[in-house]
Symmetry: D2
Subunit: 402 residues, 4 copies
């Protein structure tokens, strides 16, 4: 038994931590204030571009890929701790070109993309020149049940025609976001796992309208954002379908394993940063003659946060290790477990941190707590709500007794 990551992983982790200390944390405050001061916040500030170049020059780039061709040859369990560290800052993931949904989209292209698709879209994504969106969830139906999907990707001769309204298309507000992966029903009569297709769609194709950007607890998460997008008779050559018609469900499944580890580890990083904020506040303020950290149930709150984070991290590392050693099929329950556990864990800790901050906790001017809260709250819904993941855990558990 060994809870240490590989030597290579440790080397990368050390370098990422150093980069965070030297380059990221020092500019965060300024970055957010600068962006907030802009009339148009849907822009990439130059500092991001500069840091991306620095990170890339140091080889801290695309680290999420397990292979050495596209990534750095790190195991999922190695990268997990790196993802945690990048999760401590809202701006870090992009700087290392490890931001969702680009990570998942790149993986899809590597595993399922045609040579042409790779040349056209994978290369610039790998280089961080463009960004991408994933268009799956729909406003009109409960998306927790994939069979509810109403959007269509109809094959007509040599074309595929996209129709439907999607929302929570994350990242679509970014000026560099050039391409999306659209999921729709191609053959409604087919088996429910053979019905959907994924289509690679350039966002300047006629018929695409970003109807609005969706706020999360009042925040638009500029310059990325979450869009509601209308696809109205969007026509593409049939070759835009990834891996051919009817394979959408299969691709979606494969996309989710490592992606959930990344999401969860970033959330753990966010939880660590929240705990740090909580403790700094609780040790610097006094009431009734004692620092808040010593008052009433506050030590319990701090201890509970530490214990929840430790357990969440270990669960996620175990999941990453299972992916490394057994593949997605051997890690199904683990993947569902982390997605059901970690976002709620983060939400609880942020909520407690808000309480300890008092009025400063609910105002996003002084501390990033409401942004962290929104992040946690969305994560309990994104990529399947908690309920769906718990149901999956239970189903797999019952199967053991058959």
């Amino acid at each position: 038994m060994d809870f240490n990551i590989s030597d290579k992983g440790q080397d990368y982790l050390r370098r990422v931590k150093q980069f965070m200390e030297d380059e990221v944390y020092p500019v965060e405050g300024h970055y957010h204030r600068e962006l907030a001061s802009r009339e148009n916040r849907w822009v990439e500030l130059p500092v991001i571009r500069e840091l991306k170049e620095k990170a890339r020059a140091q080889g801290l780039w695309n680290m999420f890929f397990p292979d050495e061709t596209h990534g750095c040859g790190l195991l999922n369990s190695d990268y997990a701790l790196i993802a945690e560290d990048t999760g401590r800052s809202f701006i870090a993931p992009e700087i290392f070109n490890c931001n969702a949904p680009d990570t998942g989209n790149m993986e899809v292209l590597i595993h399922y993309g045609s040579d042409q698709q790779k040349a056209e879209w994978l290369t610039p994504l790998l280089e961080g020149r463009i960004r991408s969106a994933f268009c799956m969830t729909e406003p009109a139906v409960a998306s927790s049940d994939a069979t509810n999907m109403e959007a269509t990707a109809t094959v007509e001769g040599g074309e595929v025609v996209l129709n439907g309204r999607k929302w929570w298309s994350t990242g679509i507000g970014h000026p560099d976001c050039k391409v999306g992966i659209f999921m729709g029903v191609t053959d409604p009569e087919a088996h429910k796992h053979r019905r959907h297709s994924m289509v690679l769609v350039p966002l300047d194709t006629p018929g695409i309208t970003v109807e609005r950007m969706l706020p999360v607890f009042g925040a638009y998460d500029e310059p990325y954002g979450h869009g509601q997008v209308l696809f109205d008779n969007v026509r593409l050559p049939k070759s835009a379908i990834i891996a051919g018609p009817g394979r959408g469900f299969e691709i979606a499944q494969g996309r989710l394993g490592p992606g959930r580890v990344h999401h969860c580890m970033r959330a753990i990083g966010a939880a660590e940063r929240t705990l740090e904020l909580m403790i700094r506040r609780a040790t610097s303020r006094e009431a009734f003659g004692r620092p808040l950290a010593k008052l009433g149930a506050n030590p319990d709150i701090i201890a509970n946060a530490r214990m929840a984070i430790e357990q969440a991290r270990l669960l996620t590392l175990k999941c990453a290790w299972a992916l490394d050693t057994k593949g997605i099929a051997g890690a199904l329950q683990e993947v569902s477990m982390i997605k059901a556990v970690i976002p709620s864990m983060l939400q609880k800790i942020v909520d407690d941190a808000i309480q300890i901050h008092g009025g400063a906790g609910v105002s996003d001017d002084d501390f990033p707590l409401t942004a962290l809260f929104g992040y946690a709250r969305v994560l309990r819904l994104a990529d399947g709500p908690d309920e769906v993941h718990r149901a999956m855990v239970a189903r797999l558990e019952l199967r053991k007794y058959k």
Copy 2:
């Protein structure tokens, strides 16, 4: 035992409900969209003025006052259910001139104000011509411990001089907000309950700067808002001190009983509306072949919400009744209990409603759930954090065994 309110109360309640149905709910949506479309949202839209006049003409005005001179002669227990109903809409309380902090400020003036103070400020407040703020909480210290207060109200000859920085001065952004009640230390050597004064301060007095408006989960709650206010050598005649120097703590205590009932009953109204939203959503969407309302733990969530609301309402009504029959001194534990219980209850129900709404729940565009969440979250801090109220409940409980 009788859980019905008085006949008079029932008559008022029926009329308020009718007014809400006929006048308030129909305009809410338009009101919020209209305000959101304004470049300057720190304005009173005409519809509010019109509805205030209608409400006043119907005698649905200042109903929170128990006496017949200023109010309608309703008991606290009568008014409680009316407050609940107004809590279902963010715009309703002002329409009936029953909005915090004006309610509490008017009560202070009635009980402690000089004739001159009443003539100058109480009359226009009673008529809804001006609005007011309450400046107590401070950014630099843990305000849960009143002895931490740093702002000063120093008597110098015939003047009182205010210095200090306050925040969460609610309502100070409103264009009609003309006066504040400022609390500061007058005699730091006095007994800790004799140290503070409350001062009535016209907001156009030199030395007052609203440094910024504070967002709550990204929302500024226009046109009311929460301000951070600097008082820099603000000079007023000594007669501006309410009830004379050193009585600030006493006034603050008296102000809190009915005010907390109002806050809590409005929160219960908000909880009822949230439950209604939750059920409407859960019965109109399907997943896995059943409406969400029948799926998994969702019936439990609905039942738990109903049971929590019922209990919270009864606790608050009992508190109101205790205030009616025994006065504030006979209702101390009840007042602390409701403040400790109800805001958390609301937060939990809103959080569950968000989950059932899926992505639509975190976006304030379509449903008011994030605004309701922010409201609940602030209420767990405003007017004393949960912790302080629980501590008070415990202290009074232990006293029974001495």
Copy 3:
């Protein structure tokens, strides 16, 4: 609005409290030690008989009946607070002839019994000369779903024949327990609410075997106990069927309203006594230089207990009042709510009290906490598990929106 009970209720409540102080609390300790020292604990100790006579002589007898003929003419809301007081002591309910399941069984006989049934069984029950059992739950099936019931009450000519195995037949171990009410299927083809009959069965009828007494967390609750009872071709005249064949479900429904109020109010009395124990312990022991009551989260635990009890009591009183003013049909949701809320509330408070007592809390030698825990734990299952009541609350809630 009036949270006071009637003058008559207050008079009875005062007298019951006095009786508890003068007669019950002083003998409790001795009673339990004496019983524990007996080889055969399935006996009525003389002190119980004496106290029953005293209580009856003072008119503190059968107070649960709302009518003046059988009871004292107290409202449900009056009796509720009396039930609470008797719930503070495990021996009190019988002393006032207000013990379950006799209370419910007597109500059934009054409302549905024939003159002959009343003469034979109701009279001695009213006089406290005999006791009774209620035989409904079955070991072989999930009894939360009444349609699962397997026991049969078959009409054959002028006879009814009982077959089946029941358990959790409470009180059947008592030497004075002479009669049971047995529920079984008479016509499996009938509508599911017309299928069952209730049969009055003398416990010395051939074919009845008490197979074993069931421990609750190791305690047998002597001399009452919970029995597993085999009914093997038990033959009775058809006149033993209460109100005729097929009316079992109807009778069961009617039986449950006031009975649940009694159960819940006794549980609230138990919670109050638990809180008293908790506070006495927490104020009499020190650790780290402070009494436990002031340490860490303990004040929160005390406050939470007080707030939960207050809310639970008000919910139950409201339910009792609804029964008084609207009848069972107007109190359906209230009845389900109290049964879903109060037992869990009690369990949580007992668990916290155990923790504060340390090792003394888990040992039933020194404090009644494990007995209280068992009582609470069983109550979450008896008379329908929590789940069934929450489901009913949700169902009735959804109905409001149709």
Copy 4:
């Protein structure tokens, strides 16, 4: 990173699991019934002796010792999973001579015992010929604060004299229990960590009275039991003091690291067995047309149990690994974390299992759930209550920010 234990550990684990399957599970039911039928349950039934011999013959003996001289040379992280497996059965730990408090007592003797002490007591303990007790907790004071200890171990010339009343001396009811380790104050003036001594005391020494055995939720846990023991002027040669006067606190600290891992891993085994019982029941009973396992919130309950167990196990394994690689000083927070987390986790799962079992859950006749509940409940108090461990976790957390 590697979540597998060592090859050697896997070999032992496989053999223990086989032994459990072949020898332990098949006799459990009979064992408990047989013991329950005895008038005197304070006996070792022959089957235990036989199984001990078999286990010893197979080398499955004293596996908790990390060294090869006394144990099997297994790492803490190897043994942890073995302890989990033995925790699935109440009789297993003794069979492998891995039962508390003997494990901890043997460790104390190995590390601190004199040659004479080892010869006299360690050897028969290692061979499983005798058993031992640990006498630390006291009834008269809050033992969570070690400085409260009132018992004394006074050095008088060449003797040490023990006085005081201890309780929760686990195992003292066993007929083979021959020796205890007694902790008392030797020098009340010394530094608080230098005040106490541990004394090895033969239980037949004059002056020792087992005043009573303490029930846990009605169960006496025969033939081990928990005793209340009076030490009244118990005189021993000074050489009975372990490692010399004043070192009691130091020894107690060293004793606790691996011991807590063992406790927690056994509790995890108990949780796994509970989950198995829960699922078997939930899949074998139906209500409202579906198996309980599919009904309402039950899938969530199953999923939550699985997720809690997984996290708890990983936390404990990480703690064991930290002990292996960094020693007790490098695992302080981990040790406190597991003790604060795991017992509550087990209690919650057992409580849920009881609910799903219905009436059968609260009766210890049919399922071991109430025994498991009592075990969990005691574990939240034994070896320091939850509160003390959370406080330690918080203290160590705050230290990181100094």
